[in-house]
Symmetry: C2
Subunit: 205 residues, 2 copies
């Protein structure tokens, strides 16, 4: 499997690219700055680094791992480069307030809005993982992945299986992203409250 | 702790009341039908059974455990009887489609809408538990509870601690209910896909 990580020089993107490279996946790090992408690729032993629009060509799956507030704009800027390539959206919108971290007020997920922009199938997942959880190998717990396109979802599940100690689980249609993205706010609140690095393990399956 | 379970003769409400009674909590089963509430209370060794509006008087916490589509209407009908008594909302709105179970299209949670109706503090939790998971004692995994009122949330956490094998965890402000209610759809999808009774265990805390 050949995977591009757009936003692959950011905290989460880089940790993910490193973990995938360690697991033997052929990873291309994408960044707005090609030079920086190449330097980071060398640093984490990824296959290559390139400008985002070049990184996404000729790969099986593209992980869109920019910061959440740039996710939709980045997707829009890559419509032609991505064409029909499957995308995995990992972003969650959070609102930081003095009462804690709140999920977005938008009823639709980033992933569903991304699907309206792109020609290829969008899947969503890995929302419960943080860069820090990937720093020392696979993250503890399971990874939940959702999507409406079965073939794209299988690719995303295969990728997810490389980054957690537990299972990559099919959480249903793309609309499940509303809950999965929202759980990031819950996890941030749990981390603050209990001073930990929370992940999710699904019991009873 | 004295707890009323409104909708306590339904599948989930009754399983919850039974589990709480087993754990030594003083439980009053509420139902629209007082006779039925009394019969079910005897059946599961609850302290008492009564019509909903009587069941909620002089208790520390009220669990609103009707079916999701009746939750807000039931809350509205009990405004005066509840007065300022803390409420725990366990309902999740689901949309069953041929593509799987989808979360609601409403951006706000049932719990947040319930808070606008009631005078007392509303908390939300136990969404990842099913009646079937409570049938043989405490449910596997952790229980997540959220709310804006700290005192009410502590009561809800105490109750939640009695119904799971794991921990009762503080998931932050009431707005977290958007994610927690949405996770019910994810859990139903996981149960269908993997033929199990999924629950959530939070790792890394």
């Amino acid at each position: 499997m050949r995977v591009a990580v757009v936003g692959g020089t950011g905290d989460f993107g880089l940790a993910l690219a490193q973990r995938l490279a360690q697991a033997g996946v052929e990873v291309v790090i994408g960044s707005r700055d090609a030079e920086r992408a190449r330097a980071k690729a060398a640093e984490v032993s990824a296959a290559a680094g390139a400008a985002n629009e070049d990184a996404v060509r000729d790969v099986d799956l593209v992980v869109l791992a920019t910061k959440a507030d740039a996710a939709l704009q980045t997707a829009a800027s890559l419509v032609d480069a991505l064409d029909e390539t499957p995308v995995l959206s990992v972003a969650s919108e959070l609102r930081f307030t003095k009462h804690g971290v709140l999920p977005t007020e938008d009823a639709r997920s980033i992933a569903e809005r991304m699907q309206e922009l792109l020609r290829g199938p969008v899947t969503a997942g890995l929302h419960s993982l943080a860069a820090a959880s990937l720093a020392h190998g696979a993250a503890e717990g399971d990874a939940l992945v959702c999507g409406d396109d079965e073939q794209a979802k299988q690719l995303a599940l295969e990728l997810a299986g490389h980054v957690v100690t537990g299972r990559a689980l099919d959480a249903g249609p793309l609309a499940s992203a509303r809950a999965l993205e929202g759980m990031t706010a819950v996890i941030v609140n749990l981390n603050k409250r209990y001073k930990g690095h929370a992940g999710v393990h699904v019991t009873g399956l």
